[in-house]
């Protein structure tokens, strides 16, 4: 009997631990009176494969928050007053399963007013059903997976880039305009890159060009040596490598080491994380390559009607953080602007009113035109084609296509 009692005590202990191990609940804010602050909940990857992209995005959001709080807070139409903004942020360590738990934590325990997802499609994907289940609008800075945006989900707003399948529209047109007949594509096997590959191949084929090489590789690929030689064997006019930053870095490093040279070479992330790429692959390797230029390389100074211009932002961000901003800093800041505009126009803090207000936003920020469609996908921004060219002792990015936004011509 003693033994039995010991078992039962042990089990009771485990059950108690179970409850205790989960932490404690927090109090609910009533909505009848103005809250003392607007809480924004977000996740960031402090380590792991998405850290280099996620941390700048968080820095941009924090910068926006510091700017509005310096001014007394964000204007909330529902209460006709400015209310300070408070950030609750957790580290998901680039792990989607941890992110899943932490998104729920932000909604159910911290009871945040606004939910912002982490960088990219993988870490955003798990937030989409959770936000929908809890009827919370998900402000999504860079999760561009097309499957997130459906007519049945009114709880998502893509604040930054268009869905990834739309990205290569201008690139495909440019390749056809250049009359390239032999195009080689290597892409990382993930939603973001494969959807771009599909758009490219469809548009190229419609223009009479079938890629001579079109190969997927695991996203974890870190050695492209064999692939580069296989591509070179097809004698291509243009080579496109579609990957995440780590893929682009590995490809460009391997290419430099291989001694091969391609007349037209396109990679994605020099246009977003220029310093990171330059630091890892060197200016010489990047020279004359092509990319999608995004702010700050794509400098929106005129026409900005909400928030800072790119010059103002670059200066203010540098003085606050000690380093020049990259695209993801801007994406984080731009998400803050989208939240700000939403709160300024929403008639209440209810999530559906917030979503309705976000759907009516038409503004031109340092990140370009902000317009979302009914599904919440970003439609305003488009990605031109740019070439990184030598300029004195450094590099500059010249937009070469489309002609309406071109700042120069390509150097071959």
């Amino acid at each position: 009997m003693k033994q039995l009692r010991r078992y039962l005590f042990g089990l009771a202990g485990v059950a108690a631990l179970l409850i205790a191990g989960c932490g404690s609940t927090t109090s609910t804010t009533t909505s009848s009176t103005a809250p003392k602050d607007i809480t924004i909940g977000t996740l960031y990857a402090g380590s792991g494969s998405y850290a280099t992209s996620s941390l700048p995005e968080l820095a941009g959001l924090k910068f926006w928050m510091s700017q509005v709080n310096k001014d007394g807070g964000v204007f909330v139409k529902a209460y006709n007053k400015k209310i300070p903004v408070k950030l609750v942020d957790y580290n998901d360590q680039s792990d989607p399963n941890t992110a899943q738990t932490l998104y729920t934590q932000l909604i159910t325990q911290d009871k945040v007013n606004i939910l912002v997802s982490d960088f990219g499609s993988v870490l955003t994907s798990v937030a989409v059903p959770i936000a929908q289940e809890h009827k919370m609008v998900l402000f999504d800075p860079t999760g561009t997976g097309a499957s997130f945006f459906t007519p049945t989900n009114p709880y998502i707003v893509l604040t930054g880039l268009p869905t990834s399948a739309v990205w290569p529209d201008n690139l495909a047109k440019y390749l056809l305009a250049q009359n390239f007949k032999k195009v080689a594509i290597v892409y990382a096997e993930n939603d973001f890159d494969q959807s771009q590959d599909e758009t490219l191949t469809t548009q190229l084929k419609a223009g009479g060009v079938t890629p001579v090489y079109n190969q997927g590789v695991p996203t974890t690929t870190s050695n492209y040596d064999v692939i580069i030689h296989n591509i070179a064997a097809t004698n291509p006019d243009a080579v496109l490598e579609l990957g995440y930053p780590n893929n682009d870095i590995a490809f460009l490093q391997n290419l430099a080491a291989s001694g091969q040279h391609f007349g037209f070479l396109f990679t994605i992330f020099p246009g977003q994380l220029f310093s990171l790429l330059e630091q890892n692959v060197g200016a010489k390797t990047l020279t004359d390559t092509y990319t999608y230029p995004t702010p700050p390389l794509l400098a929106y100074n005129s026409g900005v009607n909400y928030g800072m211009t790119i010059s103002q932002f670059t200066q203010a961000f540098q003085s606050a953080n000690g380093s020049a901003p990259n695209f993801l800093d801007i994406a984080g800041y731009n998400t803050g602007l989208a939240i700000q505009k939403t709160l300024e126009t929403a008639k209440s803090l209810s999530q559906l009113d917030l979503r309705a207000a976000a759907g009516k936003i038409h503004m031109f920020t340092l990140d370009g035109d902000f317009t979302i469609n009914k599904e919440g996908a970003q439609m305003g921004e488009t990605l031109p084609v740019g070439q990184i060219q030598a300029s004195g002792s450094g590099l500059k990015t010249v937009i070469v296509f489309p002609s309406s936004v071109a700042t120069g011509t390509a150097v071959h």
Binding site: A12, Y90, V122
Partner: protein, 306 residues
Amino acid sequence: MLRRRWVDAVVVVVVVLAFVLAPQAYSNETLLFQMMVYIALSQGVNILYGFTGYLPFGYVGFFGIGAYGASLLMLHLNWPPILALLGGGAIAVLLGLVLSPLLRLSGAYFAIASLAASQAVYLIVSNPALQNVTYGPYGIQLVSQFNPTLSYYVMVVILALTVAVVLYIRRSRFGTALQAMRDDPVSAAMAGVPVVRQRTFAWMISAGIAGLVGGAFAWQTSVFYPDAVFSLSISIFAIVFTLFGGAGTLLGPLFGSVVLYGMYNTIGISDPQYFQLIYGLLIILLVLFLPDGAASLLKRRGSHVL
């Protein structure tokens, strides 16, 4: 005998009640769900490692194939979720059967080979050439089937079944045979234990548990990419939780999962910057001072740990 059965029933009821009642005290059901996932997975590892001595680093392969199997049955054949989930478990068992020749290896060779097998499954599932079948790198969308409440309670049932299976193994001749094989396979074979058959059976039970859990995870998550269900961290967590609590017991992995996963979340939420340091130190201390897990503390004092 009767008292043992009574104790077993109490154990299952306590586990079920704890997770049925926990959402009343703590509303982050995702965390509770994931805790159940890791308890069940650590029990699956326990069946294999604790009872046969085979450490499956690639255990996540069964979890992933269960998640994909269940999802694809829902998407392609329109199976109802619970049936699809059982199908996911069956597919994992089938994979276990296919991979059963790995059991010819032992020690580190088996651990590495099982890891390689799980990666192979991952690469097949995420291969763009199979996009029409597995959706390749685009991942899975089960939005129309999404039902977090029902999937939570189904997970409670899977956990209860897992606990019951481990209890059965501990009490049965089968479990005794497994432990005899773990300690000395040659002697066990000479004593008439069908070593290969029993070991394969344990391997398939373990695979089936991971498959069922993977199916429930897929249903609960509803939107995921292949990386999320084939992440090596899932195997590592299940193994560490098992080792921390004490392999070869029921309460050890249960205790390990609740304490360590609870800690993982508590530290991850309150002090994420110290998380890896604290977790790393804890594992070092465990390896140095409690290589047989927390259960060994009680065993040293002469207590019997269930």
